[in-house]
Amino acid sequence: MSETSSPATQAGAPDYLAARRGVASWLLTLDHKRVALMYLASVLVAFALGVTLAQLVRLKLLVPGPALMDPDTFARLFTVHGVVMVFVFVLPAIPAALGNFLVPLMVGARGLAFPRLNLAALYLYWTGALLLVTSMARGGADAGWTLSPPYALVSETPVLYTAVGAAVLALSSALTGVNFLVTLHRRRAPGVGWYRLPLLLWALYGTSLVQVVATPAVAVALVLLAADRSRGLGMFDPRAGGDPKVFQQLFWFWAHPAVYLMVLPAMGVVSELIAVHAQRRISGYKLVAFSSLAIALFGLAAGGQHVAVDVQGPRAAAVSSLISLLAAAPFGVLIVHWLSTLRRGAIRLNAPMLYAVGFVAIFAVGGLSGLFLSMLSLAGHLSGTVFSTAHLHYLVVGGTLMAFTGGLLHWWPKISGRLYPERLAQAAWAVTFLGFNAAFFAQFVAGSRGLTRRTFAYDEGFQFLQAFSTVGAWLLAIGLLMTLAVFVQSLRTGAAAPANPWGGASLEWQTSSPPPADNFAPGPVVARGPYDFAPAPAPAASPDATPAAAAV
């Protein structure tokens, strides 16, 4: 394969990691790759915190009665878990940590359209995260990650810091969205037409659209909530003539598409993983590209489904239900095309492919469980239970986490210049997949049987399912630790990675691993599409055989 050694490695130009040294060269960098790495480190810290909080919650739930902590602490733990995971980990993970790295490379550009704005978005992200840490230091909010009034107004916990922190984080994501949109429109290298973009970029386009359009709504909602609490403004306080329903409508105008924001970039990653590790172009490219946009648009229209039926009235509820059910269509299109791509593809079952396959399975469960919640006759009984919790975790944890990890492994050679230990990565996948399903499938059953969500104490009859879920969570934690070990071991003893260990055809694989500071030296050659894979070589002809390549 001729792409395994590109001109850049031969020129001896320093890669972006070695180019300039010193703390200031990182904190004031205009290099999108360094910004991406700083996001990566941050989201991983946030993730570790979120997992720890969840483990504490699940530990308590081993027993039905009071144990380990009081109900108030329990509420703060699950609230902060949700806030940290949603705002500080999941939403930025793929767009900011992977997207920032890949978008310019995949379009053949030297950097993003607005490098300083990118740095500003990172600092806003850190500011928001710091506000959340402050709220935790003051005891943490307890109103659930959705921070809904009226309870959020009367709670005696630091809802204010949490609300403002979340608003700042949402704003940061909007700036990243603007940057991606402009980069995609204006910075594509000659020859990179819209239909020559990797599908990840179409997914990020849809994501960025939603971030830009919907973020103002949640920022307004949260700022008004903060004003209600600190100044007694009264927007959402029924005692002052305000209306808590308005908060729900504003918040969910952003928060529903936000859940699509958590899944859409993941689906973009999965398209890349399947294409490269089955060495086939994704079937139905245009349909998949437009389905990604459709998902974003549906997301904007379907916010109402989260506003409780009784708050918005039956007619609006019916419309919301219908829209959210219609969103099944583009998801169905994606799944069908992934399957069609896999059919008779030269699949190598390495860790990235395992994560892609795991994503499809878990995402299918998560998406299908959404059908139950969208049926108006079923939603009442199910939505206040852990069935809802299971649904969201299947989509966000099973979905996004699978894709994020798979993507990180897939692009790890490019980002770090190292290969990772393949066997360990496969084992980590298996433990994570098993642990996740054990932890959360039990919650579907417990929910349909009536176990309410966010509950500290519960009926003894649910103890078996609760304990099953907790043990599953322990297994999941072990899998995550194994995954961490994969990256640590790669950094310590991983072999140097060639420019293109997987035989990818998109432009990021045309530069060295890791890339030089200005991405391409010289510029990329755009001779074919992102999925025009070269035919597999005879094994003896490839000097850079990696474990993955050898399996082809």
């Binding site: 808590p244 469960v365 049926m375 079923l378 009984h381 104490a457």
Partner: protein, 308 residues
């Protein structure tokens, strides 16, 4: 009509009306299980049967549009089933017995048309439709009755409603399903379905036995008002001070002063509980002013005095 049998997924049903949910659930379950097996099975099949060597071009045809159309058809069908069931459960029959429900952290109070009230326990007659009109005195709550697969948001300054008809005697648990504070997981109760005659008797006397001693009346009132949610009678620790051996002793308050637990203090603690709170406890007790009548209060105090 018998209620649907409990299954792996669903709790025991309290009335035949639960079958509306249960059949919709079964349909969705079969459809989703089928689709899941189709997707995951196909994927495993393709991965297991992968060719070694060059990959042929994928064939697309009308696959994408066909799958979109198929998804829409499935979804439209499920929506239709869901909508029909939804409309049915919203409209109460004429002549339903209206019961006013008030949710306040952390208890449920029920008021009947004749002025009878109860706390935590919703008594209803078998064979007659009952309409609950729900409102909250403070934050959002959610009334969830799993045995009938029913739930309703309960909002401040608004009334939502929910109807059902029990068709056999028995008890069904309900709980709050919208996080409302530290006592959220204790905010439960039960629906007690009684034969119509027994229900009418209860309604007239509001559960009082005219021959009972004041302490016995007090004991029944304590059960009616669900005092034991927070106050034990055997000395065990709960959200509120235990009543055992409380009367006639001194206690320390949160402000450091000491007070004798006499009739006056106990009455104040029921009517205005957060005025003087015992040290080590939080001021979370709801006020029973306007809920408890003067004679009821006397009876309750007598009961508390009897717990040595």
């Amino acid at each position: 009509m018998t209620p649907p049998a409990p299954s792996f997924w669903l709790p025991a049903a309290g009335a035949a009306s639960a079958s509306r949910f249960d059949s919709g659930w079964a349909l969705a379950l079969w459809v989703c299980a089928f689709l899941l097996l189709l997707i995951v099975g196909t994927m495993i099949f393709f991965v297991a049967r992968r060719p070694r060597g060059a990959a042929p071009e994928p064939r697309e045809g009308r696959l994408g549009l066909a799958s979109a159309a198929f998804s829409l058809a499935v979804v439209a069908g499920l929506f239709g089933v869901g909508f029909r069931g939804f409309v049915d459960e919203r409209v109460a029959p004429a002549g339903a017995l209206p019961i006013a429900v008030t949710a306040e952290r952390y208890q449920w109070t029920f008021a009947y048309p004749n002025g009878a009230t109860s706390v935590g326990e919703l008594r209803v007659p078998v064979g007659r439709a009952v309409q609950l009109n729900l409102t909250s005195s403070d934050v959002h709550h959610r009334f969830h009755l799993p045995a009938l697969r029913l739930a309703r948001e309960v909002l401040p300054q608004a009334t939502t409603s929910l109807w059902f008809q029990p068709d056999q005697p028995g008890e069904m648990g309900f709980a709050c399903a919208e996080y409302c504070g530290a006592g959220y997981s204790q905010m439960r109760g039960k629906v007690v379905a009684m034969p119509e005659k027994d229900f009418n008797d209860w309604l007239e006397t509001n559960g009082q036995d005219p021959n009972a001693t004041p302490a016995q009346k007090g004991e029944r009132l304590a059960a009616k008002f669900a005092c034991n949610t927070c106050h034990s009678t055997d000395g065990s620790a709960k959200a509120g001070p235990t009543w055992k051996a409380m009367f006639g002793h001194e206690v320390e308050l949160t402000d450091g002063t000491r007070v004798l637990v006499d009739e006056a203090y106990l009455k104040e603690s029921v009517i205005d509980p957060n005025a003087r709170v015992v040290k080590g406890f939080a001021p979370v007790m709801p006020a029973f002013k306007g809920v408890v009548t003067a004679p009821q209060l006397e009876a309750l105090i007598e009961y508390m005095k009897s717990l040595r």
